[in-house]
Every structure is written in structure tokens, then in C-alpha cells.
């Protein structure tokens, strides 16, 4: 079961309705939230990807069960445009080297749906919105590397961690959008 903030039932609808309804529902959602679009029209996959790209939303991936596709689309959020402020950073290549270290903990702060379709093996999934409550489970002795799609959400997560007394925290820039290393997919569907 892939988590989403909202579900749109577009089953049985023909083009253009799945996109028209997705667009309407996305307008009412908050930045960064994930919408699941259920569709039976095979044309929706390509159109939803093309539409998301043209308006700046993130097409996360889809899974197909029986004759129903479940598409996951994330609303482009403010945090995607904000400036990176946290000073301690590594690039993707340096992260690869650091992953060998036994004390390293890699925290992936993207939404669960994004994590489900493609993440670095061993990464711990804590969506940014849940970080405050789940921080207590983390050991302050570890070396934390924080990753998201482009480095902005992880920038905010790093600042939150440091504010709560974590000392060894590093932001990964740019993150998953440019990750060429090994990838794990826990849902079996296709990711974009």
C-alpha cells in the first residue's frame, strides 16, 4: 500500500477526463502532497506524465493491478524552489563513499510514495512532515546524511535535526533526481 494524501477515482473515465479531474483536485491540495489517480484508460499514463512535466508537478510512478493503474503525482511545492541554507553538504558521489561507513545513517525525507518507487538501498524513510515526531527514535551518535529529490527538503530537515541537538548531520545535494547508483523499488511498479 503506497501512502498518498488524496485519492482520485477516475476509473472508467476516458480521455480527457482523468487529466481534467486530476488538475482540479491538485489545485485544492497543498504543496508537496501526493495524489493517487486511479485510472483504467491506458492513455492516462503518458498524458499524466506529460501534463505533470508541463505544469511542474512531479510524476512519481505507477502500479497496475488487474486493469487499474494507480498513478502517484506530487504537487510541486514551495520547498522545491527555496534557497538551500544548511552549510554542511556532500554531493551524490561523496555520499556513495560515505555509505560504506558503519555509523552512517541515510535518511530519505521525501514522501513515502516517492521512496517506494525508487530509493537508495538501506535508506530510512522519514517524510519531512513526520520528522519532528520520529526524531526521538534516532540515535545522536550516528552520522546522518539526509537526502530528498533536489536537496531542498533535506536542507530543511538538516536544520530541524541540528536544532534538536544532532551534531553530525550532512545534506546531500542534489539527491535522488540525479542519483545514478543502485536503486531499490519496494512496490514493483514503474517509476519515472
Amino acid at each position: 500500500m503506497i501512502q498518498s494524501d488524496n485519492v482520485l477515482d477516475a476509473k472508467g473515465l476516458a480521455c480527457p477526463m482523468p487529466i481534467v479531474k486530476t488538475r482540479k483536485m491538485m489545485k485544492e491540495m497543498e504543496d508537496g502532497q501526493v495524489l493517487e489517480v486511479q485510472s483504467t484508460d491506458s492513455g492516462t499514463t503518458a498524458d499524466l506524465q506529460a501534463w505533470a512535466e508541463s505544469v511542474g508537478h512531479q510524476y512519481v510512478g505507477n502500479v497496475k493491478e488487474a486493469d487499474v493503474w494507480s498513478h502517484f503525482v506530487r504537487k510541486a511545492g514551495q520547498e522545491d524552489q527555496s534557497q538551500k541554507e544548511y552549510p554542511v553538504t556532500v554531493d551524490n558521489n561523496e555520499l556513495l563513499a560515505q555509505l560504506q561507513h558503519p555509523d552512517t545513517v541515510l535518511v530519505d525525507v521525501r514522501e513515502e510514495a516517492e521512496y517506494a518507487f525508487a530509493h537508495i538501498p538501506g535508506a530510512l524513510s522519514i517524510p519531512l512532515g513526520q520528522l519532528d515526531e520520529r526524531m526521538a527514535d534516532l540515535s545522536k551518535d550516528k552520522k546522518f546524511f539526509v537526502v530528498c529529490r533536489t536537496g531542498n527538503r533535506s536542507d530543511m530537515a538538516c536544520r530541524k535535526l541540528v536544532a534538536k541537538g544532532f551534531e553530525n548531520v550532512t545534506n546531500v545535494i542534489p539527491g535522488m533526481s540525479k542519483w545514478n547508483g543502485e536503486i531499490e523499488n519496494t512496490v514493483g511498479g514503474m517509476n519515472k
Binding site: 476516458a14 480521455c15 480527457p16 477526463m17 487529466i19 481534467v20 488538475r23 491506458s42 492513455g43 503518458a46 498524458d47 506529460a50 501534463w51 508541463s54
Partner: protein, 373 residues
Amino acid sequence: MRIIQSSEVAKRVIAKESLFILDVRNETAFEDWKIEGEQVRHLNVPYFDLLDGIEEIEDQLPKDEEILVVCAKEGSSVMVAEILEEEGYSVGYLSGGMKAWSEYLEPVKIADLKSGGELYQFVRLGKGCLSYMVISGGEAAIIDATRMTDVFMDFATERGVKITNVLDTHLHADHISGGRQIALATGATYWLPPKDAVEVIFEYAALEGDTSIQIGDTKIDIQALYSPGHTIGSTSFIVDDSYLMTGDILFIDSIGRPDLAGLAEDWVGDLRESLYSRYKELSGELTVLPAHFMIIDELNEDGSVSEKLGVLYKQNHGLNIEDEKEFRELVTGNLPPQPNAYQEIRQMNMGKIQPDEETQREMEIGPNRCAVR
């Protein structure tokens, strides 16, 4: 708002009439294939970019000519056409969308045969497939039928002829053959080259070199000529001593590709042998009728696709490569992408899988890619 049928679009493309198309599919689908024509102009803007209105594209739309709005299945084109109509444009949409366009067949009469029959070509403009019907003495033979079997059967019924023989020049990889279905529906004999048919799971009549098939009282001769290269079994037919049906071995402006049913390296020698020896022994006066065309320029004035063999030996680049190594390089290196779902299409043409109609449509989406130029 006008509902425009594929048959009208086909006639306008063949007549080289001016046509302005607003194609509202996504850009990838548009780049993959579209309605082609000498005087066809396109504007591609996905429907989802027009949901707030058409202000941004207004300067690119003609005010004094009808706009044909096209999408994949029709739904989005109706929506966009309605917006255009409200804004005062003269507009129509393509009934059934590109799906219908891909399935439309335009029948063109090729000739009255000297022994008294007729020869028709069925031009599938949306996909570049060419099928044939030979009619004589109340009987008909169909060659390389597409899956729109009703078109062929209705055509025969309208002319009061009985379909007695159905032939495929080879096991197709780019489109679904209607041959077996027509044979089942009419009781006709279905002929396939046995070397292409080793895996088929139904009964067929073995079509081998030097086989002759008679159509009607006037005895139109369909003479089989083994010409491997595109597939190992590829067979050409000579109809009425005048027409050479080359299947996917030789086209008007290109030649067959040898890689869709096996290894290009293995069959390139066969292809060269067929094109540079076997065909060369035939009369240059034969009219070549291929199973495909690749570009709209290959159409004659009347919409047919044909040319004298002698002319092709002068003009077709693929027939004029002296150096064998260069020829090998042309047909094995730089091959175009393989057709959509070609493995599944082969499986289906062998009778091994039987997907529903919607799946069959999707398997055939996209342009024809059987040739190398």
C-alpha cells in the same frame, strides 16, 4: 462543428489538398506518428495545455480555413474543438481519433487484368500497410490482409465474389494479419510460407516456390517466388504475369530489414541474393506492389503505391549498392527502432496469443518500420 471521417482525410491527403491539423495528443505521441501529407500542416499542443483556453496559440491558428482537431481516441479533440468553435473558428474533429485513422483502408484500383479480372490495393495510410485483392470470375484472393477483416469481406460481398484464397507473403511483425480470420470466416484456403510458419499452431496451406494458385474461371495465376531476406520464408507473388508482389523484401524507396524475426547477420546474404539475383532475372516490365510504404511521397497521384521493377533498379538506392560489405552495413547497422510490440505481433500471427481488440489496437500503434533506406 464538423465530424470528419478518416475516409475524408484520406481523400484529401491523396488529392494533396491543404489541411490544417491541430493535434492535441502529448508531444511524445505526436513525434512518434501523425497524419502525413504533402499539404498537411500541423500544430501540436497537448489538450491539457488548452484547458484554460486557447489565447496562447491563437496567433498560430488559421482564421480562414477549417481546423481539423485530432487526438488519440476522439474525446480530447471534441473538447478542444468546442473551445475553438466558441471562439469563432471553423472547426472539425477526427471521428475516432488516430485509432480510427490507423485502421482506415482506402481501396484503390490498380488495374483491369488482361485475363479479365481486377486488382485492388488497400492503402492503410495511417500505418503504411498495403493489402491486395485479386478478383476474377466470381472469385477473390486476398494478399497480406490487415486485421480489419470486415473491409475485405464487405468489399468482396459488394462485388458479388467469393473469397477462395487468402495469402500472406510472410509472417508479419509490424501489424496483425487478418488472413487467418478471413479464411476461417469464408472457408477460403489460408496460405503461408512454411519456413515462416514452423511455430504456428493452426493449419495452413504451404506456400512454396513454383506453387500456382488459380483464381476464378479466367485462371489468374498467382505464382509464388521464394525470396528470403526480411524473413526466412518471405515469398513474392507474380499475378497475371504482370504484377510482382514483393511483400517486405522490396519497397518503392527502400528495402526490407532482415532483423525482425531473427538475426540480421544471418539473413543479410539471403536478402542480397533475393534483390540482386532472383528479382534481377525477372522482367523489368513487372509492376512492383509492396506490402508497405514508408513515406507519403511513395504514393502515386491516385493514391496507389507501385512502380515498374526496371525503374526501381534505376532509382531505389537499396538495389544499387555494388559493394557487398556496404550493403551489409546498410541493412545491419543503423537499423531504425523495431516496431511497437513486434514480438507480441509475431506471437499473435502464429496463433499463440489472442489478445482482445483494444490490446490489438495498442500493439499496432505507431509508424511502420519494416524498411531500411
